[in-house]
């Protein structure tokens, strides 16, 4: 299926969804979620743009569609008298609101077109009059504003700024290409194993590790267990994982047949 319209032409995920609904000549209130989801995903696949920020918004919408799809596939929980809530309702509401603003923005465009036919004139205040325009009285302007009040305002801005930084999400940073290559980590774990023989999972993550690094390292460990090159023990849940390196050499992932 070829899609002639470039994805960049859409202003956002709702815009794309509206386009698909229009194209299929279906009513917003009765979106065939499965079809639309598939078409939607098709569009996203075409997305060549590497702009993760924009991409992520489209992905969120795709996830919403899939979520609705799955909720519709599942049998609705038995409710007493309550009417069954169509899982599509929230999406329908959003689409309707968005559609309405697109509709009024067309009307505004016409208004602007009409209004642009009217000409204004720049001020022609005689220079000598304009010149004795009185200066703005700063002290009057400042009025009862005090430095401590100004300081208070400033402090609240600074505070607001630090509040804005989400302690968890700020560490995620930007969405970037995976920095940790599994095959590199795979080799590194074995090097560490030869040196230490017995060590803990925590030892592998001595530096400040990102979530991704932890995950990749853990994957490396799983692969090595599968190959029988290490043995792991954990006394109790959440205890540190004790790793014993059984092999005496290092193999690469390629050699291991991955």
């Amino acid at each position: 299926m070829s899609i002639p319209v470039k994805l960049e032409a859409f202003e956002g995920p709702l815009d794309l969804l509206l386009h698909l609904i229009d194209k299929n000549k279906i009513n917003i209130y009765d979106i065939p979620i499965v079809e639309i989801t598939e078409q939607y995903l098709d569009y996203i696949k075409q997305m060549e743009e590497k702009n993760m920020e924009i991409m992520s918004e489209f992905l969120v919408m795709a996830a919403t569609l899939i979520n609705i799809k799955s909720r519709m596939l599942l049998p609705a929980p038995a409710t007493e008298e309550e009417e069954e809530i169509d899982p599509r309702q929230e999406l329908v509401d959003r689409l309707l609101e968005y559609k309405m603003y697109k509709y009024v923005s067309d009307q505004l465009r016409d208004k602007q077109e009409d209004a642009s036919r009217v000409m204004f004139k720049s001020p022609t205040i005689p220079k000598e009059i304009a010149d004795f325009k009185e200066d703005i009285d700063v002290s009057e302007l400042i009025g009862d504003l005090t430095l401590s009040k100004l300081h208070e305002i400033f402090t609240s801005i600074v505070k607001r700024q630090s509040d804005k930084i989400d302690p968890i999400r700020s560490k995620f940073g930007k969405i970037e290409q995976e920095e940790f290559d599994l095959s590199d980590i795979f080799t590194q774990i074995q090097e560490y194993g030869i040196e230490h023989k017995i060590f803990y999972f925590r030892n592998l993550l001595e530096k400040q590790s990102t979530k991704m690094e932890i995950i990749v390292t853990f994957l490396g460990i799983l692969e090595l267990i599968k190959l029988g090159r290490i043995k792991i023990e954990q006394e109790q849940l959440f205890d540190d994982i004790r790793i014993t390196y059984l092999a005496s050499d290092i193999i690469t992932m390629e050699e291991a047949g991955f």
Partner: protein, 190 residues
């Protein structure tokens, strides 16, 4: 006649100032109260309606400004080059509509409706002086509230925000009726 003199004064003021002048300032300048001033202006606006006049007085949110009549556009274009106004892209217009109808509104609220990040259009609209900051919302994080400006009213030929094109209630009713009909037939067409 005194009233004639006042009309002349108001015309001279509006002509000289060029920009929109608030009613209270006009009233002060002609030594009349605001009500009387408004009535005189109204009366002048009727006179300007005459087909021999090429200019008109428009009202913008309680301020008055002199400008040409729209019907004069073709003639003016003949004699002078008219600088193009900022052309608003669909994105800008869509964002501006949301702000116009929902003001005061925060960036997050705009983004919730559009489903997409909106820093760029908001900053562009600020730059074009079509929207302005109205202050901050008294809520966690104290987000900035945005609203439209006098320039917005001027650019869209609106006397006041009350005169924004109504969100057609019939249209919405139509939507709802359609939906109800279909709801009856609604099958989970998966």
């Amino acid at each position: 006649m005194e009233i004639k003199l006042v009309e002349a004064q108001l015309e001279a003021i509006l002509f000289t100032m060029g920009e929109a002048v608030e009613l209270d300032r006009l009233a002060l300048a002609i030594d009349h109260d605001e009500d009387t001033t408004r009535k005189i202006l109204q009366c002048m606006m009727d006179k300007y309606d005459d087909e021999s006049r090429g200019i008109q007085i428009i009202e913008l949110d309680g301020a008055y400004q002199l400008c040409t009549k729209a019907s004069m556009y073709e003639t003016i274009v003949k004699i002078t080059h008219i600088p193009k106004k900022h052309i608003l892209t669909d994105v800008l217009l869509e964002t501006l509509s949301i702000i116009a109808y929902k003001q005061p509104i925060t960036r997050l609220q705009i983004e919730a409706i559009r489903g997409v990040k909106s820093d760029h259009p908001i900053n562009k609209l600020l730059e074009y002086n079509l929207i302005c900051e109205l202050g901050r919302m008294d809520a966690p994080g104290k987000p900035i509230l945005f609203g439209t400006t006098e320039e917005f009213l001027r650019c869209f030929g609106l006397q006041s925000l009350d005169l924004l094109p109504a969100i057609n209630p019939e249209k919405l009713e139509d939507f709802k009726l359609q939906a109800e009909e279909e709801a009856e037939q609604l099958t989970l067409d998966i």
